[in-house]
């Protein structure tokens, strides 16, 4: 999958409470969640983010609560991909499970500035910073995770196994 969009930069340890505060967890409606995406980190984000934009975070992105509402809010806000130095483990699984591509790449985090136009090839892990004419190589996605993506997310993957 090839993606292209504008970069939004965030720091280290972006927790799922700032991605989607608990005061909005009385719903599971992705559209509702999207309206408050990243609200406690950048209150203007949800209003300004555009379809296809890319979030670039620091280390330990998505730490804290296991709420799957966090990657859902990001995906349904139109964000195409999240790049970070590292991801908290529950967020990492959740993102793949709901079909939000995420990539670990410190080089990209260092090289990309807010507003840069960035393209991502999720199959190869190659990230291109079009604004700065640089490329970065992300950690390849483990083959097992690629199977889940290929199946279209965990639920389809499990469906497939149930048929077996």
């Amino acid at each position: 999958m090839k993606l292209q969009g504008r970069a939004w930069k965030f720091g280290d340890n972006i927790d799922t409470d700032v991605i989607i505060p608990a005061r909005y967890l009385n719903t599971t409606d992705p559209e509702e969640l999207a309206k408050h995406c990243m609200e406690d980190a950048d209150p203007s984000f949800a209003a300004r983010v555009q379809e296809g934009d890319i979030i670039v975070g620091g280390a330990n992105f998505g730490c804290g609560s296991s709420r799957e509402h966090a990657p859902l809010a990001i995906k349904s806000a139109g964000v195409a991909c999240v790049i970070a130095r590292s991801f908290a483990r529950i967020f990492y699984r959740n993102a793949f499970n709901i079909g939000l591509p995420i990539l670990e790449c410190s080089e990209a985090v260092d090289g990309i500035a807010a507003g840069d136009t960035v393209s991502v090839d999720t199959a190869t892990g190659v990230i291109t910073n079009i604004t700065r004419r640089e490329t970065y190589q992300a950690q390849p996605i483990p083959s097992f995770m690629q199977e889940i993506i290929a199946a279209g997310g965990l639920i389809n993957y499990v469906k497939g196994k149930a048929v077996e």
Partner: protein, 420 residues
């Protein structure tokens, strides 16, 4: 090949003789858990799979605890969806308001998780059950939905970190202080993707309540699970409550650890984590003058009987400061009843505290004690992220029950020795 306790439990549940860190395995789960926030998403995904029944009606456990008793219409709709699902699926273990508890206090208390188990929960603090010598970890709602259908889940076998605590715990220093100090030392990603194994003479002498507190906060260091070798205390705790047979696993002496940490705790003082990170810890004597508007004692971290006893001991015959709202939330109905029988609840009420039915409530900024902009709380909870207890411009300081209770009396962050 020598293995750690985590590796042995995972190998057993994967039907293997041995597993190594980094391996991907499919493991059988002994119990799966969700609450009123995460279950609605899981139930939606469960039906997408196309199955009609959960894999085992005794092992899918639903506990509405976050926004109950319901705070608004939307949260009532979510809780209703969970309740309806529990009825349709004839789940044995659904816990209603008035008979429930905060999930991670409730499940061990009811003997629904036992030593040697593999347990997953759609709640990050599921790692609490490691205190029983079980492998327990938090997952999202989709992972949970798949496990509700199949009774299995895939894992990457984690590397283990070993923490050895030596010396003698000073007065007022407990499990919360040990884990805050540890997170302060290794950082919020110090155990990312790894198992934290807590060992040593201090842990051997630590109460089960203190052990639950420690394993509960393993996630705040990024860990996949926290775990404590089961021993006589564990056996004493599970005897009479375990609903299933259990197995004690122990790490082999030659097992491999990614790193071993040694701490001498003899001079450790009660710890406080400053905003906005559980790793931003310091000793309470270095806190400086921090006035507080609210004190919360409760949560899956410190809402157990021992925590209430420590708080009551400090509050006995004293008054909550006039500028402070103190909220005490027993972790389960059973803990509530026991605290009543011991006179602890009377002590809190006479001191001027509010006592609530069990709920996660203020810990995650749900209800029952939300902070306004500029307000500050000290809480025995587990997270002090931006906006965690309410307004994004409010602040949460984390501590054990002794410091929280002492601070309620003086109206500022206080060492218990100052008031007792």
């Amino acid at each position: 090949m020598p293995m750690t306790i985590t590796e042995k439990i995972l190998a057993r549940h994967a039907g293997r003789d041995e597993v190594r860190p980094g391996e991907l395995i499919s493991a059988r789960v002994d119990a799966v858990l969700a609450n009123d926030i995460t279950a609605p998403l899981a139930i939606r995904e469960f039906f997408k799979i196309g199955v009609s029944d959960v894999f085992d009606a005794d092992r899918v456990i639903l506990v509405p605890d976050h926004f109950v008793p319901n705070k608004d219409i939307k949260s009532a709709e979510q809780a209703k969806m969970v309740r309806d699902f529990a009825r349709e699926q004839h789940l044995t273990n659904y816990f209603e308001v008035g008979r429930m508890g905060i999930e991670h206090c409730l499940l061990p208390e009811q003997g629904l998780v036992v030593p040697g188990d593999v347990v997953i929960g759609a709640d990050s603090h599921t790692c609490t059950y490691g205190a029983l010598g079980a492998f327990a970890t938090g997952v999202g709602s989709t992972d949970l939905a798949a496990a509700m259908a199949t009774g299995e889940i895939w894992f990457k076998v984690p590397e283990s970190l070993k923490f050895v605590y030596e010396g003698e715990l000073p007065r007022w220093v407990g499990g919360k202080d040990l884990i805050l100090y540890t997170i302060g030392d290794i950082g919020v990603e110090g155990a990312l993707y790894k198992a934290m194994e807590f060992t040593g003479p201090v842990i051997e002498n630590l109460s089960m309540d203190g052990r639950f507190t420690m394993c509960n906060m393993a996630i705040e260091a990024g860990a996949k699970n926290g775990i404590i070798p089961p021993d006589d205390r564990t056996a004493f705790y599970v005897r009479g409550r375990a609903k299933r047979p259990f197995t004690f696993y122990h790490s082999d002496p030659e097992a491999t650890y990614a790193r071993v940490y040694h701490y001498d705790v003899s001079k450790l003082e009660p710890q406080v984590a400053f905003p906005h990170s559980p790793a931003n810890t310091r000793g309470v004597s270095e806190a400086g003058d921090i006035p507080v508007d609210q004190v919360v004692i409760g949560s899956c971290t410190n809402g157990r009987l021992e925590d209430l006893r420590v708080a009551a001991q400090i509050l006995e015959g004293r008054q909550v400061h006039r500028n402070v709202r103190m909220i005490v939330i027993p972790g389960t109905q059973k803990i509530y009843r026991e605290a009543m029988a011991e006179g602890l609840i009377a002590t809190f009420i006479e001191a001027g505290a509010a006592v609530s039915t069990p709920t996660c409530g203020p810990c995650l900024g749900g209800h029952m004690g939300i902070l306004a902009a500029g307000e500050r709380a000290i809480a025995t909870t587990n997270r002090n992220f931006v906006g965690r207890m309410g307004h994004p411009e409010s602040e949460v300081y984390l501590s054990g029950p002794a410091v929280a209770a002492a601070s309620a009396i003086t109206g500022r962050i206080t060492h218990p020795d100052e008031v007792i």
